[in-house]
């Protein structure tokens, strides 16, 4: 295996070093003694170092805007491979290495080897392998290397997520994950085969080198949509996502939600970049799927009361928002509207980065809470912010950011997508020929999603962190250690920084967006997003200024002073913590309103007699698509096919008859 061409460019070399270091980070831990945690320390160090190198490489590639491709020969994957770093890859590498480094650091505190001597080395190893394989996915330049990395990623995630396989739900989640991942891979087999048939090479074609209007192109796009959609978690292919995110250790969930599902988005972005004239229905399909995923994702999230499942459904929502952005960009490309392309793709990519930041932050925060409280059930928590003040603050930052609230990063990316949609609908500087009503629908849909996300996160934050603890716990919840707080702090800081000063993020974004454009379009020198992001800084600072200005007015010492008292109980006698509004009751109205889709299940106790026994009422929202669509379908199919299995009945004479009949049939068919 040899790299052809001259030496590696600096960014490629850095990224390659990062991949190697992260891939090997868990190896020492597999052989070293387990009790003292040396292996994990080495692994964490290697991961942080590797991530740092990779991050440096990616930033370098983005700032210089240079791209490089290398051919690997000498019997590698039979026909050789191509590998390279271009701005588009580099942009995806940023959240990856960021979360990999933070996640590894967090993992050393969250899942210490000293406490889990047998499971931790395995987890550490696969976490490193996972990070490296995702990096390889982003940098592979031919189908075989890509699929190799893609499937190693799936296998590594499977092993990482089944770390605690003594629990039944973890095993089931693992199985579901693996099956869904493999379904996706099989569709990708078709995808890359078709692509090869179109280009007669496994190497990825250059941006804009194919024409989109043909039937093979449609097949390639659709297979990409399904194959990558499985990984991205686009509805209705998201079935594996909630349980997998809930079952995995928290830093793995963070990486999964932050980066791995983005590899599906990467695939879609990369594949669509090949085509210079996609038909309009491509963009409309993506936009539609995006709307469905976003709205349905957030609705399902509202119904959850398992903290991590709730976050998982929000990943589906955000993937939907990203898909909407890509849809806008594609519509822009097919109607020849540059601003739409720029704003759509820019918004999608920035939202992808942002989502990685705040969702990573939220999962890590959720991990700390679960670590401290010992349950994932929201309705049993409460008042956690008093015990874990810093975790609470970080989680709050993430929660506000994911709702798209200014002045945080989530707002910036949604703003770009909104701007693209508005420009398209209003016809400003652009003429969109088709998909106008769809785009007009997308705007209020996005607004609805924002409102629902807000409802969901005030519920989650309020019930978990505020109020009073709802159950007597054996152990006092305690604040997480430094190794867990530091990663959260970094992510929270980045959320604020990008929110207040989006220019920095946009500076990194623009080369990546340019990479999506056909080479012939002359975008190699870079693009400028038609969005006044400077104003966002101004408005953010203004908001902070006003807040700071009001504080002294509202809170200055006054003659009356500040008195403490119990919460106003409306004249109720002896209120108890159990009487607080729970997450389920908070969401009840919305869940009922959308009950046709969410299909909530209520477990009502039977109440009888004048003095009924204490009873428990509970409700939950199932994974509707899986439980009410796929599983019944599978069951039905299985029932239909079952009788055919009697063909294997054990009677030899009939088996010989099969042979005879086969001969006769073939003889009759012969020309």
């Amino acid at each position: 295996m040899f790299l052809a061409g001259e030496g590696l460019s600096p960014s490629a070399a850095l990224v390659a070093a990062g991949i190697l270091l992260t891939a090997c980070s868990g190896l020492p831990g597999l052989v070293l003694a387990r009790r003292d945690g040396t292996g994990q320390k080495i692994a964490t160090l290697l991961m942080v170092a590797g991530s740092g190198l990779g991050l440096a490489g990616a930033l370098n590639a983005l700032l210089t805007g240079a791209s490089a491709r290398y051919v690997i020969t000498g019997g590698f994957l039979v026909v050789g491979g191509e590998w390279g770093v271009d701005p588009l890859s580099a942009f995806f590498l940023i959240p990856l290495f960021l979360l990999a480094g933070c996640g590894a650091l967090y993992g050393s505190g969250y899942f210490p080897e000293a406490k889990h001597p047998s499971a931790a080395p395995r987890l550490t190893f696969f976490f490193g392998l996972l990070a490296a394989s995702v990096a390889l996915v982003f940098t592979a330049r031919d189908a075989l290397l890509f699929l190799l990395a893609w499937e190693v990623m799936a296998l590594a995630s499977f092993f990482a997520l089944t770390t605690e396989d003594h629990r039944k739900e973890v095993r089931e989640a693992g199985l579901l994950f693996l099956v869904a991942a493999h379904m996706g891979t099989l569709v990708l087999f078709a995808h890359f085969s078709l692509l090869k048939a179109a280009t007669s090479s496994f190497t990825f074609p250059g941006a804009g080198s194919l024409s989109g209007g043909t039937a093979p192109a449609a097949a390639i796009f659709l297979t990409a949509l399904v194959g990558f959609g499985f990984k991205a978690g686009i509805m209705p292919l998201h079935i594996w996502l909630p349980s997998a995110h809930a079952a995995a250790p928290s830093h793995v969930s963070a990486l999964m939600s932050g980066v791995i599902i983005k590899s599906g988005i990467y695939g879609i972005v990369r594949v669509t970049s090949f085509y210079h004239t996609p038909p309009a229905w491509w963009g409309m399909t993506l936009l539609t799927l995006g709307i469905i995923s976003a709205v349905a994702g957030v609705l399902f999230a509202i119904g959850q009361h398992d903290l991590k499942r709730l976050l998982a459904y929000h990943s589906i929502e955000n993937i939907g928002i990203i898909a909407m952005g890509i849809g806008v960009a594609l519509i822009g490309r097919s109607s020849g509207s540059l601003p739409l392309e720029l704003l759509g793709m820019g918004g999608a990519l920035l939202h992808l980065l942002n989502h990685a930041l705040f969702k990573g932050l939220l999962f890590l925060g959720a991990g700390s809470v679960i670590h401290a409280v010992g349950t994932r059930e929201i309705d049993l928590m409460g008042g956690v912010a008093k015990r874990l003040p810093l975790t609470g603050l970080f989680f709050l930052t993430g929660a506000a950011a994911i709702c798209g609230l200014p002045p945080l990063n989530g707002f910036v990316s949604e703003y770009l997508i909104y701007l693209g949609l508005f420009r398209g609908v209003a016809g400003i500087g652009t003429v969109v020929t088709s998909g106008l009503p769809l785009m007009a629908l997308a705007i209020p849909a996005l607004a609805l999603v924002g409102g629902l996300a807000l409802a969901c996160f005030v519920k989650a934050y309020g019930v978990v962190f505020l109020g009073v603890h709802r159950q007597e716990s054996v152990t006092q919840p305690h604040e997480a250690g430094l190794s867990m707080l530091l990663p959260m702090g970094i992510l929270a800081l980045l959320c604020v920084l990008i929110g207040l000063f989006p220019q920095g993020g946009i500076r990194l974004l623009e080369p990546a967006v340019a990479g999506w454009f056909p080479v012939s379009a002359g975008m190699a020198t870079g693009v400028t997003l038609p969005a006044p992001v400077g104003w966002i800084t101004v408005m953010g600072l203004l908001l902070i200024f006003f807040t700071l200005a009001i504080i002294p007015v509202a809170l200055k010492k006054r003659p009356g002073g500040i008195a403490g008292a119990v919460t106003w109980d409306c004249g109720f006698l002896r209120p108890t913590p159990r009487m607080q509004y729970t997450a389920s009751s908070f969401a009840a109205t919305l869940v009922d309103l959308f009950g046709g889709m969410l299909r909530p299940r209520r477990h009502r106790p039977k109440i009888s007699g004048p003095y009924p026994e204490p009873a428990l009422f509970s409700s939950h929202v199932p994974e509707v698509v899986l439980e009410l669509l796929y599983l019944p379908l599978l069951k039905r199919g299985n029932e239909l096919l079952m009788p055919l299995r009697r063909l294997q009945h054990g009677q030899i004479p009939l088996y010989i008859l099969y042979i005879f009949v086969t001969v006769i049939v073939l003889l009759l068919l012969a020309p």
Binding site: V78, R171, G174, V179, H182, A190, S193, V663, L666
Partner: protein, 479 residues
């Protein structure tokens, strides 16, 4: 010279083992002769020997691929047997050792026979020498399995003989000198009577297909694979299957040279798809993990048949897959033997926590599962993907889509059987079951095979690539 060595060395080993008295020492002969055979095979691979006996024996690239697969797999099985048989020392292994060595000789003969009559004789010998191996466990189920295997395969092979006669008759009708030598047949294929050639193709396909396990001729397969010891299953699925496939390939070579090839190609594709569909049908909700592996074998035989039918574009991958499938099946069957011994059951629902109780076996079985279902970084990925992309590229998108559908169903079936076996906590062992654990001899062979397919999954050495490419060229439609 090397031909005779390859044939006679195992036979000599068979004789020696027959006259070795000790039940404990006898299995040690197996790795010895396996290794010798492997070394000879490597020598042959590097030497590229010329045909002998006026063309009756020759190792062309196709035969070489099969021989290489068989010899590598056999070495693994032999080492495994040396570790496995002593654990069952109360049962005489004399017949088993004899059968294994005779079978090795017969399989080698299949790979190098270029006279189709000789090929047939060798093929029937492999069938017969395998029978006592399947029967090793001596219980009602293994007797049933052996009987089905023997009768169905014998009938199949008899039909293949008829096919051979048809082939010879095709030359007779064409007015040429009747012969069953491969090279003259290929050279004169265009002049062969099409009707008789069609008939010959059908009977040979059904005949050897029965032995290979193409649906609906596969009926004996789950029974035999399920009841035979793991290492016999490995030899059946990696050795005999490849022999039978080679038999079909030989006929196919002639057919491809005959001009109008549509019927042959379509038949292969049809039978292949049918096999994959059957495998998918029976792998859903399969609770017996060894039978599941048998159906997986049916599936891969189907995959190979489709690849042959598709032709150019999928042929390289097909030959590569022949090799990969053989070795991967070896890993799966050998480790499944370990699981069977440790848990005392083949019912997957009673097997839990293999990774915990038998970490190496479990890991290898899991890796084998991933490999056989076409996951990178294992070499079957390259070959399966190659076949599928070749099918798409060869203008059969519908066929390829169906294949993907079957592969998807099969994955679902396999995963939902295998993953619960692997994960979780192992049940407490009852008093009757001996604490069977991973040992060097029962783990090293599958591990070695696994390493081979892992390395090939990333890096294909040039000589091997050339061999496969040369072989693929032999199977292309004559211009």
């Amino acid at each position: 010279m090397i031909y005779l060595a390859l044939l006679l060395l195992p036979l000599a080993g068979a004789l020696i083992s027959w006259f070795t008295g000790s039940n404990l020492r006898r299995p040690r002969l197996l790795p010895l002769f396996g290794a010798a055979h492997f070394i000879l095979t490597l020598l042959a691979f590097m030497g590229g020997p010329k045909p002998v006996l006026s063309g009756w024996l020759a190792l062309d690239p196709l035969g070489m691929v099969a021989l290489l697969t068989i010899s590598t797999l056999y070495l693994g099985c032999a080492v495994y047997a040396a570790g496995y048989l002593p654990s069952r020392r109360r049962r005489s292994n004399r017949v088993l050792c004899l059968g294994m060595l005779v079978c090795l000789s017969a399989m080698s003969l299949v790979t190098m026979a270029h006279h189709l009559g000789l090929l047939w004789v060798a093929m029937e010998s492999t069938t017969l020498s395998m029978a006592p191996l399947i029967y090793f466990n001596r219980n009602a189920r293994s007797i049933e399995a052996t009987w089905k295997y023997l009768l169905i395969c014998s009938v199949g092979i008899a039909l293949a003989l008829l096919g051979l006669f048809f082939l010879a008759y095709a030359t007779l009708v064409a007015g040429a000198e009747t012969t069953l030598l491969l090279e003259p047949l290929i050279a004169g294929a265009r002049r062969l009577s099409p009707a008789w050639l069609n008939a010959a193709f059908i009977f040979l396909l059904v005949g050897f297909g029965t032995k290979m396990g193409l649906a609906p001729l596969h009926t004996w397969k789950p029974d035999a694979y399920g009841e035979a010891p793991g290492l016999v299953g490995a030899l059946l699925s990696g050795g005999l299957v490849n022999c039978a496939l080679l038999g079909i390939i030989r006929v196919y070579q002639i057919c491809m040279a005959a001009g109008d090839v549509r019927f042959y190609q379509q038949t292969m594709i049809g039978m292949g798809l049918l096999s994959m569909a059957f495998a998918a049908l029976f792998m859903l909700r399969q609770t017996d993990f060894k039978r599941m592996l048998a159906y997986s074998s049916v599936e891969h035989v189907g995959l190979l048949a489709v690849a042959l039918g598709v032709g150019r574009g999928a042929l390289f991958a097909a030959l590569f897959h022949l090799f990969n499938n053989g070795l991967t099946k070896g890993v799966l069957f050998l480790t499944s033997g370990n699981i069977h011994r440790s848990y005392g059951t083949k019912n997957a629902e009673q097997v839990r926590g293999v990774l915990q109780r038998l970490p190496f076996t479990g890991g290898l079985f899991l890796a084998g599962f991933f490999a056989i279902t076409g996951s990178p970084p294992f070499s079957p990925f390259l070959s399966e993907f190659g076949i599928i992309s070749g099918t798409f590229g060869g203008g059969h998108p519908l066929v390829a889509a169906l294949m993907l559908l079957f592969l998807a169903i099969i994955f679902m079936g396999m995963a939902s059987t295998i993953l619960p076996m692997m994960m979780g906590s192992a049940p407490r062992e009852s008093g009757t079951v001996v604490g069977y654990r991973d040992r060097f001899f029962t783990v090293a062979p599958p591990l070695a095979l696994m390493v081979v397919i892992l390395v090939l999954g990333i890096w294909l050495p040039e000589p091997l690539r050339r061999l496969l490419a040369d072989g693929a060229r032999l199977l292309e439609v004559a211009p």
